[in-house]
Chain length 331, copies 2
DNA sequence: CTGAAAGCGCTTACAG
DNA sequence: CTGAAAGCGCTTACAG
């Protein structure tokens, strides 16, 4: 690849001047600048990332730490992040956090410490206290998005309010036997997302003086929702409505109801959370949370943190009830 | 962050020796090596990525060029890539190719040319001839995976065989009115995946002396499949079976059939391609193509190309017919 | 086996 | 406004 040196030679200036002309920093005559830019364009010059980061201490790259399993959500968020980063010329370095202990250790102790990024965005990742500390020790801005670790959660949806809104929607339709599928342990004092949504569920029922028709714990997958719903729907006093803590859980519940010969919404109302691509096809009522916009907000927060001229987003992320055909009054 | 200098000082050796001890290159006494490694561990030293790439010309990072829209497939592949890269200490730089011309120009002309990666893996991306040239001009190993651009397709499934297998499965069940949903223009001479699958469809029918019951073109989305199936199923001579070129297209077809009061598989058999996560829930017969393994293969190909000691994968990727309940003999 | 020195390709005070 | 020089933090011939 062409070097600055060659550009400078062609423009008949020093490398220092060429650098200034290309970066826009420092003052120099318009004529010189134009000449250098011409030369750079002619030669197709692009500054070496390694050399400039070494010289400036800035990489123009943002790390994104994700569990690659949560496909739908993270793809949305990632796209949102890329949307904001690309125009400013920032790259994305993707760090995949699996469950493998050795891999995770390497990730936190080595990969992240190579100095490849200016900031890191952490997506919906459950981390140990030690990992959280290691992240902090990086000395980089850390932007949490949908992270269970509250201290890192720079940006978040008010998940208690989400749980409340979903439950109140069902209550408003007249349901009195409402069950919940989530991932929280009901008595968990933690601040992770499933627990917060569960708390909203409990609070809304309490306010209405209605008792819970059950809670089933599941992984945030269709399979998990499927199994949990099977369990809830085969109880003697079965619920007339289910609030699932994610759309994928809700899809699983819809499949389960169908298998048990129960029609949605005639025999069972189902509401999810996310605004998943497929929710329209399942005619699923859900609480949208705009993950693409969340990604953009996270990117903005990261850019603001590294000193780029963008306005930092408000920490509170919006959500919105979208009513479709999967919820109706009980019959 | 700690520098090599500090490690060297603590181990009482020169920076050169410290570097050798840590990299394992060059010969030095076991005692010295141990001392340096100790010091590095004590200080939590990790070499700066920028400095080592500048010195060696190698980045230990692989670029992955994706259209972030194709969520399911790319998440699988990405996870497969990460699985192989992480143990060797390679990072992933993610390049998102959108449809925005300005963004794409920047991507090919600037981002990719910053020298941040040692090789690039291109996923299922349609590129212009100019973009293909720009990629080649990078002078880096390029690994194509599921790329329409045949010249770049280092790794590929035999998509004519896939189309043939799907069609023959339906023929074998006794169907004689079989339609196809894909993205190819039937007369397209190109070598892109949809066209190849369509060619397999045509060939299988020809061999069986059966006429096509129609072709509908659609984007590779559920929505696309939904619309295309609606069209096919409302023709006077409607098909008894549909071969959809992807599982998402097939899901759309299933939704469409349901809306038209046609039951799968009683009134309509549907077969897809992919082995999508959801295919089990839709009881969809499909041609699995193991994207996670494809990602691992692509990573291996990239690693082999940059001189790592891994065996390059065979260029032909496997696929497999998985029969579920969405296909049955016509009634 | 180990060290001093040059070099990777930029950027940025420091002079002028 | 422009250039010479030092420095970012490594690695690797080259000597010894």
């Amino acid at each position: 690849m062409t070097s600055l040196e060659e550009v400078a030679r062609r423009a008949e200036v020093s490398a220092a001047t060429a650098s200034r002309a290309l970066s826009g920093r420092g003052r120099l005559s318009d004529a010189t600048r134009a000449r250098v830019q011409r030369a750079a364009a002619d030669l197709g010059y692009v500054a070496s990332a390694a050399a400039s980061s070494l010289a400036t201490g800035r990489t123009r790259s943002i790390g994104v730490l994700v569990p690659l399993v949560d496909q739908w959500f993270f793809a949305q968020v990632l796209d949102g992040i890329a949307t904001r980063l690309a125009p400013l010329g920032y790259d994305i370095t993707l760090y995949n956090a699996t469950d493998d202990p050795a891999q995770r250790r390497h990730l936190f102790r080595t990969s992240l410490r190579r100095g490849r990024v200016d900031a890191v965005i952490v997506l919906s990742l459950a981390m140990s206290a030690e990992e959280t500390d290691e992240l902090r020790a990086l000395g980089l801005p850390i932007i949490g998005l949908g992270t269970p670790i509250l201290e890192l959660a720079t940006l978040r949806v008010d998940d208690v309010a989400v749980g409340r809104a979903a439950t109140e929607h069902l209550l408003g339709l007249g349901h009195r036997r409402i069950a919940h599928i989530g991932h929280a342990y009901p008595r968990d004092a933690g601040g992770d997302i499933p627990t917060l949504r569960h708390r909203g569920f409990v609070a809304a029922l309490a306010d209405a003086g209605v008792e819970s028709a059950g809670f089933a714990r599941a992984d945030f997958t269709i399979e998990g929702g499927h199994r949990a719903a099977h369990e809830l729907l085969s109880r003697s006093e079965r619920p007339t409505a289910i609030f699932a803590a994610s759309d994928e859980l809700a899809f699983g519940a819809v499949f389960a109801a169908r298998e048990l010969g129960q029609e949605v919404p005639r025999d069972l109302s189902v509401i999810g959370v996310d605004g998943h691509d497929l929710s329209g096809f399942f005619a699923l009522t859900t609480i949208e949370q705009f993950p693409h916009a969340q990604g953009m907000a996270a990117a903005d927060a990261a850019l603001a943190a590294v000193g780029e001229d963008v306005t930092a987003p408000a920490p509170a992320l919006p959500f919105e009830l979208v009513v479709r055909a999967s919820t109706a009054p009980p019959t």
